[in-house]
Amino acid sequence: MSTLAQQIVNGLVLGALIGLIALGYTMLYGIVQLINFAHGEVFMVGAFGAHFVSLRLLPADTPWYTALPVMCVTAVAVSVAVAVAVERLAYRPLRGAHKLAPLITALGVSILLQEVVRVFYPGATAPLAFPRAFPDGHLVLGPVTVLWTGVLALAVAPLLAAALHLYVERSRLGRAMRATAQDPETARLMGIDPDRVILATFVLGAALAGVGAVLYGIHYTQIDTAIGFQNGIFAFTAAVLGGIGSIRGAMLGALSIGLVKSLAGQYAWGGAQYDYVWVFALLILVLMFRPQGFLGRPERVRA
């Protein structure tokens, strides 16, 4: 019983962190129908940015309540800068090209970013210890113990998803984003510049990934150049599972994936070595019976 409860909590923490990446996937797909496979790497470079500022620029005795915000701001800045550069250099020239072109480009950008960090970041050929920028110890809830970093992730991720949802529903830019998602041509007739909306979408997604990267680092205590790819795949799966284009769906999908991964790792045949098999089994199952995902709308073919 206590193992079950513990694994549920572990799964939800992982899910919350994946959710922060999934939001970027789902928003971007909703607006430009682009599956930005480099988005996982945007998350990864954010983690390395935070690692860098903490180890190289902050004094060793910086208290966590100073270090954490500085690391978050740095991670967001690095993630956003990389995302904007990728959009400008790799995706914008392909606008209007066949759908496959940006998809293949995204895969290439993903490999490029991984290799650039691996080759040029000191020590990145092996996993790096991430700075402990949050109080140690854990919260005890009956049979369950949760690291404070996990509590933080569980609090912050849904909050950011809710804030994003509100922003998209209420703000002027959010309205422009929804208009562009629904009917790009008519959105242009409203005076909406599609390039600006797309750029803003990259920026928002990257900022969330940057925050997620710091939360991920302090919780799992180490990072490597593959975290973007691994978690990016789960995040993309979460976005599809939840209904691509849906913000709430992405978070819901991510939490489900965290749960399945954690519970399957504990109980299913093959254990933690094969936990991801069950994640994709869940994806296949959901897609068979509900192809639009949990909260997605059925795809309509445009006349």
């Binding site: 422009a176 929804r178 208009a179 629904q182 009917d183 242009r188 007739l189 409203m190 909406i192 510049d193």
Partner: protein
């Protein structure tokens, strides 16, 4: 002149869609484009609003060239395009659609203009929080017109505003356009219903195979035997 288009050429995949169309819209005037399906009427409007770029020719709004501008900048310059098929944001509310119409406006009169749209079409005001997709075709057309008005355009363009509507709704929409005309709005409209278009328009152009084949005051064109034979049955 509000709008001057000179010798527009455009082709799609080797097919000539515009073959030297020229037209002018005077300040406060209503200009109607008539012609058969595929004559190039909608293409003219799309060229003006920047959705399509003419290969050759020039378009000026109040003397300022706009043919090189992207669509969002053409709206900023003062042209609102109420597109064929209405193209509302079906998942959004009436109010959100109107706000999108006034997306670029930073002045303080947006709320006043929205109230004016609700005065013009009370049904929209009563159902302002409902999704646009739930409305009938005629009501959707009203919303599309209201949305275009929210931009406070120097030139308002309508593409087939009565298409697919019931006779009562056609009357209602045409009356609204007449009302806007009487208030001094400058209008360029494409309408398959040639009789309705020419009754409303101060000036009409007949477009055929991407060319302007005839032009003149609406009433003159209505009386012209060639127009009567070809477009009025």
């Amino acid at each position: 002149m509000t709008l001057v288009a000179e010798r527009l050429f455009m082709s799609f995949g080797g097919l000539l869609a515009l073959d030297g169309v020229s037209l002018t819209v005077p300040d406060g005037g209503v200009v109607g484009l008539i012609g058969t399906n595929g004559a190039g009427k909608s293409t003219v409007l799309k060229a003006v609003s920047g959705l399509l770029r003419p290969h050759r020719g020039e378009i000026r709004l109040r003397g300022r060239p706009i043919h090189h501008l992207p669509a969002h900048a053409v709206l900023a310059a003062g042209v609102a395009h109420c597109p064929e098929g209405r193209r509302l944001f079906a998942g959004m509310t009436v109010e959100e659609n109107l706000r999108l119409g006034g997306h670029l406006r930073r002045d303080r009169h947006v709320a006043k203009d929205m109230a004016r749209v609700y005065d013009l079409f009370p049904v929209l005001g009563e159902r302002r929080t409902q999704r646009a997709g739930l409305f009938s075709g005629g009501e959707q057309q009203m919303l599309a017109i209201g949305r275009a008005l929210m931009a406070r355009p120097a030139l308002l363009m309508f593409d087939e505003p009565t298409m697919g509507l019931s006779p009562i709704m056609i009357r209602r929409i045409l009356d609204t356009i007449a009302l806007l005309r009487n208030q001094g709005t400058t209008i360029l409209m494409v309408e398959q219903n040639a009789l309705a278009a020419l009754m409303l328009a101060d000036h009409g152009y007949v477009i055929d195979l991407g060319r302007t084949t005839m032009s003149g005051p609406g009433t003159d064109l209505l009386a012209d035997p060639r127009v009567r034979a070809a477009y009025l049955g």
